[in-house]
């Protein structure tokens, strides 16, 4: 039980994973598919938490091609 969203709630701070605001449809597909439950979406803001193990599932899955790795 991890009880809630990523504790690191610094809005727009993205750890390793990067979302393109121009491409994102805010559909939640990445949120529900992340095996680590590391993504939280509040309305139009996506947050990636520390639980992310960089499996890259969300990158391949995102219908809009909006997620990539930082750097």
């Amino acid at each position: 039980m991890n009880g809630g969203r990523p504790k690191e709630t610094n809005i727009l701070k993205v750890i390793d994973m990067k979302v393109s605001a121009e491409r994102c449809h805010h559909c939640g597909a990445c949120v529900g598919s992340c095996p680590q439950n590391a993504i939280f979406m509040n309305d139009f803001v996506l947050e990636f938490g520390d639980a992310c193990n960089r499996c890259k599932r969300c990158i391949r899955l995102c219908p809009a091609g909006a997620i990539s790795e930082e750097g």
């Binding site: 009880g3 559909c27 939640g28 598919s33 391949r60 995102c62 219908p63 809009a64 091609g65 990539s68």
Partner: protein, 397 residues
């Protein structure tokens, strides 16, 4: 911090959440339903196709405000386009399809919940569970940017595909790669097509899923497709599949988009448990989408109604323990579990078939006289013609 108290807090105001809120409130529960978006039903993440038959059973009256189109039948088209199974009104009876407008449909269900006495809060996102001595006693939320504590006897996770409430509570709703379908859809206008039939197209146009046309009016339809995550190789590829299909089909030659929709559906077997002390899940959050059709509105409404009725009873004894919520677990399983298993197994099989086999299969099924077109009657037709394809789950058909 502001604190609110209620009997039941419902997280998510989709069809499953509104149904739960309505039936719980009708039974006398004090219900708060929270929705993180600023508008219920919008933006749409749905093809909006449903069958007519179940609406009455969940107490929803057909309303012209949300009914976009009533179609005459359905058409399933083989990968080559040469073979198809059609079913028209004369045989389809109550199974004939409706195409709804979710922006209005979801609001109508929320209005029913409000009329029953439920309170609704928009721009309010649940961010975690409130735990005291190991017990779930509500949710922490952010409401219009301000922190808010909502204390409740029972938390209902109706948060859709995102399904976070369940995972926060320790219910494993995580999905295997093979059980995720990624979707893209346009509402296309200026198309030249048959607006009286929903269309489902199989095969490599949408690997592991299918492509659909759901009519909205004479020259406008929801045109989309879903591809299995296992078949996707690069980011954004599902949209490329859709763009390619649209470019290749002459019906869409002059088409223009009115709306673009992204999303995902789960196509997994039913979960082991969606209830625990002081918490339950309904709808997509409980992974109740049908693994063959990808449809989840009807199942979400059934689950919401069953959950709401059980919650109404639980309020009377102020006991929201798992034992009490088990009645909901029994009700939804009784209604949905076998079908979900059957359709998951059928999906596992279908996903493995090459275009040529799907063509032969469609041809064979097209020759069988079907009384109604449902996943059940189609699988029965497959059993008649290609028994080896369904032998592993014959007893479920």
């Amino acid at each position: 911090m502001r604190t609110l108290n209620c009997d039941v807090v419902v997280v998510g105001a989709g069809p499953a959440g509104s149904m739960t809120a309505k039936w719980a409130a009708l039974g006398g529960a004090d219900v708060i339903m929270i929705e993180k978006r600023p508008e219920i039903g919008s933006p749409i993440r749905c093809g909006e196709g449903i069958s007519r038959s179940w609406l009455e059973r969940v107490g929803v009256e057909v309303d012209p405000k949300w009914l976009a189109r009533s179609v005459k039948g359905a058409k399933i088209v083989s990968p080559s386009g040469e073979h198809y199974v059609t079913l028209d009104e004369s045989k389809a009876g109550n199974e004939v399809g409706f195409v709804v407008d979710r922006v209005f449909f979801d609001k109508a269900l929320a209005r029913d919940a409000a009329e029953a006495g439920a309170k609704i809060m928009l721009k309010t996102a649940a961010t975690s569970l409130i735990m005291e001595d190991g017990k779930i006693v509500g949710v922490n939320a952010v409401s219009h940017g301000e922190p808010l504590e909502i204390r409740a006897g029972c938390v209902v996770g109706a948060d859709g595909f995102e399904s976070q409430v369940g995972r926060w509570a320790g219910i494993d709703t995580s999905l295997k790669t093979t059980d995720i379908i990624t979707c893209y859809q346009y509402r296309l206008t200026n198309i030249d097509y048959d607006p009286d039939f929903t269309e489902f197209r199989l095969g490599s146009v949408a690997p592991g899923g299918y492509a659909w046309i759901f009519p909205k009016d004479e020259n406008t339809a929801n045109v989309g497709l879903g591809v299995s995550l296992t078949k996707l190789k690069k980011p954004g590829e599902v949209k490329e599949y859709l763009d390619r299909w649209i470019a290749s089909d002459s019906r869409f030659k002059n088409a223009q988009p009115l709306e673009a929709v992204a999303g995902a559906v789960s196509v997994c077997p039913p979960l082991d448990s969606v209830t625990m002390d002081n918490l339950l899940l309904v709808g997509d959050a409980a992974r109740m989408i049908d693994p063959i059709t990808g449809g989840g509105i009807a199942n979400g409404c059934y689950a919401g109604m069953y959950a709401g009725k059980v919650l109404a009873k639980a309020v009377k004894s102020n006991d929201f323990s798992q034992q009490v919520l088990q009645e909901y677990e029994d009700d939804w399983r009784d209604k949905l579990e076998n079908t979900l298993w059957r359709d998951w197994m059928a999906k596992e099989k279908l996903i493995s078939l090459p275009d040529e086999t799907l063509d032969k299969l469609t041809e064979a099924v097209s020759k069988v006289t079907l009384e109604r077109i449902t996943v059940g009657t189609l699988l029965a037709a497959v059993r008649e013609t290609y028994p080896e394809l369904v032998k592993e789950f014959e007893d479920l058909i």
